[in-house]
Symmetry: none
Subunit: 132 residues, 4 copies
């Protein structure tokens, strides 16, 4: 994944968030969970900065969307405390694993600041630009 | 426990993981929970590095397998938040306390990356080499 | 400072880095040192991600450029160990305090990955867009 | 870099350390500084576990040997406090950046526990197996 790919995703996420009238943070990390790009929209609460970053990190580190991760890293899931590894992970939606057309994991994107449903939708629309 | 013991365990774990066709991380710590040996198999998700280490650490620090630890370090267990001590512990299977033939605690082994059942089996087969 | 201001700075920094043929990370934080925007150019070493962020943070937290901070936060400076506060600060150039036309502190920008001289120049050219 | 490459390096480092009669820790990380393999020889002081890991991490994150890093991340160097970024880095010898025959960065190896000269030599002998 190149910076240009990340910037295209970022633009798509930003446009979608604006069209929904929400203020979010967007984090994009590479396949090793290292930050590639981040933006915070005006009026997003400061607390969601770290949430967006952890959502992207969770998806990249475990090769799964954070909503799926939520089912296992939960007191009633099969791997309670998994969410406490790696400096703290995110057990709810808004983090998506990014894959290329060939299915190879390229990284993760995390969106936070709106409703979880909006966060997920924005992330999905952004992620689609990778394989478009 | 000597490095040679840890390496024998590591070889056994690696062979078993390969025969099952899974990619795991394996961590072995001494009786004071300090790292002795670690390997990450090709294609294991990066997130499981820390999980394997925490499983081994949990077993060594509390003299019990992480699956047993899960029954007490859980919101419904007798010592909820115990899993949040010591930098974060692991409340699911795959970490085994290592004991000598005389029952003395020698350390811990943690396996992560496959199903919890596979992780536990691989750790058990490795641990058996200690008393063979 | 709005996200649009940060993005204008980011674009200017990116264009300047490209024209110099260097690969850098660029971090922009607000007046409370909270992240607003970040990008990592292709081929920048992973270690400079944190350096760029700490440069921006240092400038915003102490209302001074990191090169000026270096004169006091240093074993031979007047406030040795100041650089060890706030989670670790940066005692060399490449972090600039951002001020509006009226002199009010608006945040900080940090650039890292090229020579310190290039890092500083890139940050300066970006910062100028704020008061242009 | 595959686990098999890391294991070959590890074996070479271990053999060399034994022939010199020293006890060291050896850490090998990938190009994104994530752990691939680690061993601690019998009788190595516990404090050098983290040192070996940080040496390997320093080399991978900044694409340079830790002995070279020492010249810049030093109170009298051009980038004092650089050693305080990324969770703490290592400003003395024993960490080598690992490159393939084509010069591409593959990761880092860190050796600690003997004299710095021995640490460096052991790391070098191990690293040579990558391009042999």
């Amino acid at each position: 994944m190149k910076l240009s790919d990340a910037m295209t995703m970022m633009d798509a996420a930003l446009a979608e968030a604006r069209s929904r009238g929400v203020s979010v943070c967007i984090s994009i990390v590479d396949e090793a969970a290292w930050p590639m790009a981040f933006i915070r929209m005006d009026n997003a609460p400061l607390g969601v900065i770290d949430v967006a970053c952890k959502k992207a990190r969770t998806a990249a580190l475990f090769h799964m969307d954070s909503a799926d991760f939520a089912r296992i890293g939960h007191p009633d899931g099969g791997a309670y405390t998994l969410e406490n590894t790696n400096g703290g992970l995110t057990s709810f939606g808004g983090g998506l694993v990014l894959k290329g057309a060939d299915g190879v994991v390229l990284g993760g994107i995390g969106v936070s600041g709106a409703s979880t449903e909006d966060d997920i939708d924005i992330a999905r629309i952004a992620a689609k630009t990778l394989t478009a």
